[in-house]
């Protein structure tokens, strides 16, 4: 057979590798900053773009989509070419993909810091960037499928299946969750509201973890562990079962982020059941990775690349054991809204994604630059500092989460709550400090890696186009014994894509369609009315400043929460909330019943300096809200967008909305004057106070008017 000569494109791999390191450092620095802000409010610098609520999305987006994202592309561009025995389909598409993705990252950082956010975690980017992401993702898809179609290897190795499933599922998740109605060139409202928005968001959030942080990295594990240990995967049969079971089950588990909330109970139960089932494929995959190293543990002792990979896979196993545990209602009642969750995700982020990325970087850099690694010793030091960093990061947060949840639930003998919310926060400050030290150690390890890789690169000579040879793919594929149906699929990438899409779409459809279309799932409450124009403006300020990142708006039906915050939240209360603001973490107290709890003057002073009202509070100051004017030019467009979404404002209300806004602002202004506070009526703090005083009050107007199901 004719042997063809061709060249692997290493330039794209190198570019993605550099980007991985750069954005890793940036994202982790942002993480370190917000970790310090939590115990040192002065580190917010009293500036809008350095305050926690805006930096936190920068941290999460940077580490997920910039650091891990570029890590995925680096690994895929390297392994896919070699598994297909073909150069990437198009050099031009590779370049567009690379630069397009970096452009998205820069735009994301700038817009998030400027306060442009959709208010949905891990999907904060606004609509023009959402469109750009879609386009670049399609470019990546064409480049990947083009490579697969022009391959010289008849089999599709299991890693490629994971890449295909990643591509198709991320596309689906991104498009469905990003449905929004723009009201200005950079701002929009989520297409969904309340419970439905929450379900879509956590279907997305959970599966972004699954299909952006897990499946592509599993594909890379199935390539790089055999490669680095120079032995085939422990069981290829197991990897087939692992793949199908994982992508089939994962997609159902999203509602476990919403246990005890106003989400219909059947959806919560479905989420729990599938979360428990997830242990099986997750651990199957982990063991497959670890057993690949059977008889090669002497190599692990010598080789830092393998050390990183072993700990990465172990952390994957820990996180995927803990995940199902956390989705048990009894455990979730304790863990949810606390730092336990933050500890959990960082085992995955720092251990699984971080360490596998470092392993790949240490493996690839010497290969691409045709020289041994500058220092194995430094790499081993990085490994140990990083590992200690993970331990120091996670354990204090587990401790903090568990302690705080227990304190929330304590009652005195007289039946009173034993601790104020603030007491439970100040109690865990030492844990927060230790966590930030763990993060600092981890980042120090990264800097050691940067130095080590830099020295390696300086000593080597880069092979941009690596020569390779392979025979062309025969027209009639070779056969092995009997042919089975799976063999039919696995030689056909497009069919693989379709079957994967069906497998991942089923779970989402079965959970969402009934929640959207059936009235009995969201009982209406007649006293719940749309927000006034001033409240809507205030709500947008609340979203812009990222308040939902520290304050939930979801009171669960527990004795302590009802005693602390008020009546538990009902699904029907959120029907006009585009987007929903339930939150996922209580660094501060829940705000679902904040309306009417304190006078306007309290909020005014509290937003100016939280510590003047609550000594020891860790909330940042929001002094710019006292100068920023309410953007009344957008009021009409906002109302029109809401009408489009089905919010029942009167006809042509957008034209007179600003009159109502001014009237309501004036009444707040006069109310504040009684407390000797002089403020203009057209500043954002007034709108924010209007919103906060409204939250959760509608139900009080007519508490018994829950509509029957007819």
């Amino acid at each position: 057979m004719q042997v063809e000569k061709f060249y692997y494109d290493n330039k794209s791999v190198r570019m993605f590798g550099y980007a991985t390191v750069l954005w890793g450092v940036v994202g982790m620095l942002a993480g370190l900053l917000i970790a310090v802000q939590i115990y040192l409010p002065a580190a917010n610098f009293n500036l809008p773009f350095t305050t926690f609520g805006r930096v936190r999305p920068v941290h999460t987006n940077a580490v997920i989509f910039a650091f891990v994202g570029n890590g995925i592309f680096m690994g895929v561009y390297y392994s896919l070419q070699r598994l297909c025995k073909a150069r990437m389909f198009s050099d031009v598409l590779s370049k567009i993909h690379f630069w397009g993705w970096q452009l998205i990252i820069v735009l994301a950082a700038v817009t998030l810091l400027s306060g442009y956010t959709s208010g949905k975690e891990y999907a904060e980017l606004e609509w023009p960037i959402d469109i750009l992401i879609t386009l670049i993702w399609v470019v990546f898809g064409i480049n990947m499928f083009g490579t697969i179609i022009t391959r010289r290897e008849s089999h599709l190795y299991v890693a490629i299946w994971f890449f295909i499933a990643t591509w198709v599922t991320v596309a689906m998740l991104h498009i469905v969750n990003s449905f929004e109605v723009p009201f200005s060139w950079m701002k929009s409202y989520s297409f969904y509201a309340g419970v439905q928005d929450a379900l879509v968001q956590w279907w997305y959030g959970h599966n972004a973890v699954a299909f952006f942080l897990t499946t592509p990295y599993l594909g890379l594990m199935y390539y790089f562990i055999p490669k680095a240990s120079n032995r085939p995967v422990y069981s290829y049969r197991l990897s087939i079962v692992h793949f199908w079971a994982l992508i089939f089950i994962y997609i159902w588990a999203g509602p476990h982020h919403l246990l005890y909330t106003a989400l219909p109970d059947w959806a919560q139960s479905l989420g729990t059941v599938f979360s428990i089932m997830l242990i099986a494929p997750s651990w199957g995959g982990m063991l497959n990775g670890l057993f690949t190293l059977r008889g090669a543990w002497d190599k692990v002792r010598e080789e830092p690349v393998l050390k990183f990979m072993v700990v990465a896979v172990t952390c994957y196993g820990m996180a995927t054991f803990e995940g199902p545990l956390l989705s048990l209602k009894t455990v979730n009642a304790i863990s949810h809204f606390t730092d336990w969750t933050i500890g959990h995700v960082h085992i995955g982020a720092l251990g699984w994604n971080g360490f596998l990325t470092f392993g790949m970087l240490y493996y690839l850099t010497p290969k691409l630059f045709n020289t041994p690694l500058y220092s194995k010793k430094l790499a081993t030091n990085h490994f140990w500092i990083g590992t200690i960093g993970i331990v120091l990061y996670a354990i204090p947060l587990y401790w903090a989460g568990f302690t705080q949840a227990e304190m929330w639930k304590q009652f005195t003998e007289e039946g009173q709550l034993k601790y104020t919310f603030l007491e439970t926060v100040t109690h865990i400050i030492p844990m927060y400090i230790t966590r930030s030290i763990g993060g600092l150690l981890y980042l120090t390890g990264v800097f050691i890696m940067v130095y080590n890789l830099g020295k390696t690169i300086a000593a080597g000579s880069f092979i941009g186009d690596e020569e390779a040879e392979a025979p062309a793919l025969p027209k009639v594929p070779e056969t092995h014994g009997k042919q089975y149906w799976h063999r039919w699929i696995e030689a056909r990438p497009i069919q693989m894509l379709i079957v994967s899409l069906v497998a991942v779409a089923i779970g989402g459809i079965i959970e969402m369609v009934p929640t959207f279309l059936i009235k009995s799932n969201i009982p209406t409450i007649s006293s719940v009315k749309p927000y006034t124009p001033l409240e809507l403006q205030g709500r947008d300020v609340y979203i812009r400043e990222g308040c939902y990142l520290c304050h939930s708006q979801m009171i669960r039906p527990f004795r302590d929460e009802v005693a602390r915050y008020g009546e538990y939240s009902k699904a029907g209360e959120f029907v006009y909330d585009h987007p929903f603001q339930w939150g996922s973490k209580r660094t501060g107290p829940d705000l679902a019943r904040i309306g009417g709890k304190y006078p306007n003057a309290w909020h005014y002073n509290h937003m100016w300096d939280p510590r003047s009202i609550s000594p020891g509070s860790i909330m940042p100051q929001y002094t710019w809200l006292f100068d920023n004017k309410i953007d009344t030019a957008l009021t009409g467009a906002k109302i029109r967008a809401m009408i489009t979404l089905g919010v029942p404002y009167p006809k042509d209300y957008d034209k007179i909305a600003n009159d109502d806004l001014v009237t309501q602002a004036k009444s707040i202004q006069e109310n504040l004057k009684k407390d000797k506070i002089e403020t203009p009526g057209n500043v954002e703090i007034v709108a924010l106070i209007a919103y906060l005083q409204r939250v959760g009050t509608d139900i009080k107007a007519a508490p018994k008017q829950v509509a029957s199901l007819k």
Binding site: E153, Q196, P232, R237, A245, Y484, H486, R487, S520, K710
Partner: protein
């Protein structure tokens, strides 16, 4: 108003879902069948082919 009229607003198409069990049973059926077939395939697949595929990453 166009969007509102033409697209789903996702509210109140049905008052109730009747025979809801059939959805759960069907999905479980699809799910279960798929797995059995897949596991059987993985178990019975030709050993030579499995070995050959698992060697792909080590080739270059």
């Amino acid at each position: 108003m166009l969007l509102k009229d033409k697209f789903m607003k996702f509210i109140n198409y049905l008052e109730k879902i009747t025979g809801v069990d059939i959805y759960a049973l069907t999905s479980f059926g699809i799910f279960f069948t798929f797995f059995i077939v897949m596991v059987l395939w993985a178990w019975k697949a030709d050993k030579k082919m499995i070995n050959e595929i698992s060697q792909i990453p080590l080739e270059n």
